[in-house]
Symmetry: D2
Subunit: 127 residues, 4 copies
C-alpha cells in the first residue's frame, strides 16, 4: 500500500494532468521524443525561461509579478510549462510524485530541525 | 467561478503540498527568504540537478533511471525538489496552478493541431 | 578572413582551454560522451549549481560572494565549470566563440541604443 | 604572481570582452542591475535557452546543430549569450577566470585519474 493510499490525503494529485499530457503526446505521435533525457532538458529550458522573468526585478518587485498585467500571463504560462514537463517526465519514469514529495519533506524535516534552522538561510544554503 | 470549479475535475490538486510547505517555512521563519525571485532561482537550481542526472545517459538508458537502484532515489528526490519549489513559488505569487495548466494546454492544442504536428518535433522545437 | 584576424584584437581567446579539455577527454576516452546534446545538459547543470549559490543572498550580499572565504572557492569553481563545458561544447560544435561574441554584441548595440535603453532594465527584459 | 603570469600561456583571455561589456553597461546605466545575483539568473536563463535548442535532437543530430543553416545562428547566439553573462558575472565578482579554470582542471585531473576514469561516464556522473 503506497503512502498515498490508506487514509492520508494526498499532498499532490496530478492524475488528470498526467492523463491529458499522455493523450496529447499520443495523438501527435510525440511519444518517441519523450524520453526522460529529452523531457529533463525541456524542463530545464522552461525553468530557465521562468528564472529569466525575475532576473532584473528586485525581490520586492518579484512579489507582484503575477499581478502586474504586463507580466502575469507570462509568469503563469512559465509555471505551467515547468509543471507540464515535470508531470510528463515523472509519468515516463514511473515515479509517483505524491510519494516522492512525502519522502522529501520527511527528509527535509530531519535535515532542518525547527530549533536549529530558524531564520537561517545558510542552514539550507549551498554557500 | 474558476475553471477548476463547476464540474470539471481538476488537472492538478496541490493544496496539500502547498499547505505543508507554508507550514514548514513558517515554523522555521524562512518566509523572509521566500521571495518569488529567490524561489525561482531555487527551482532553476533543482532543475539543473535534475538534468545533470541524465547528462551522460543515452535516451534509452534514461528510461530506466527511476528503476535502477543506483539512481532511482536521486531521480525521485530531484523530481520532488522541483515540484516543492514550483508549488511554493506559485503559492507566493498567488497563481492557481490548475488554472494555469488548463490555459496552457488549451493554448498548446491550438498551436499544435494534431494533423500538422504529428510526429514532428520541429513543430514545437525552438530550432 | 574571420573577424578575429586582420588587426582587431580578440574579445576572447579560449584556445588554451579548448586544447586542454580536448586532451583531457581524449586521454580518458570520454569523447564518446561529449555530444553537443550531452554537453549542453552538463552546462545547464553547472549553471544551476551556480545560480543556487546566490539563491538566498540579497543582491548586496551577492557582491561579496567571491570574497567571503566560506563561499569564494565554490563561486570560482562553479564559474570555471560553466566555462569548461561552454568551451568544450563550442569546440565540438565547431563554433568560434570570439566571432559569436562579436556578432552578439553588435546585435545588442542595435537592439539597445544608448539613448533609449539608459537605466531601463525593461528594455532588455522578458517581462 | 598569479598563475597566468610568469611564463605559462593563459588558458583563457577574456579581457577584451570584459572591457566591452563593462563599457556597454556603463553607457546604458545598467550597472545597477548587474548584481552577481541578477547576472547568475541571467546566465541560468541563457543556459536554459541553449539546452532547449538540443532537447528534441538525437545525440547524433546535435553534432550538426551549428552547421545546419536553420539552427546555426541560434546555436552561436546562445553560446555567446552564456559567455557574455559569465564574463560579466566574473568581472563583477572580481574572479580571474583563467586562474579559476586552472584550479578546476588541476582538481579534475586528481579526481579522474586517466587509468581509472577511462571510458567510464559514471566516474564523473552524479548517478
Amino acid at each position: 500500500m503506497s503512502t498515498s493510499e490508506g487514509g492520508a490525503s494526498p499532498l499532490v494529485d496530478v492524475a488528470g494532468l498526467q492523463a491529458a499530457l499522455a493523450r496529447f503526446a499520443r495523438e501527435r505521435d510525440w511519444e518517441r521524443f519523450h524520453s526522460p533525457k529529452n523531457l529533463a532538458m525541456a524542463l530545464a529550458g522552461e525553468a530557465g525561461e521562468l528564472v529569466a522573468l525575475f532576473q532584473w526585478l528586485s525581490e520586492d518587485a518579484s512579489r507582484d509579478a503575477a499581478r502586474d498585467p504586463a507580466s502575469a500571463r507570462r509568469v503563469r504560462d512559465e509555471l505551467a510549462d515547468v509543471l507540464l514537463y515535470l508531470v510528463r517526465l515523472a509519468d515516463r519514469l514511473g515515479v509517483d510524485l505524491d510519494e516522492a514529495c512525502r519522502t522529501k519533506i520527511a527528509a527535509n524535516a530531519l535535515k532542518y530541525p525547527v530549533e536549529r534552522a530558524r531564520g537561517r538561510a545558510d542552514k539550507y544554503d549551498a554557500l
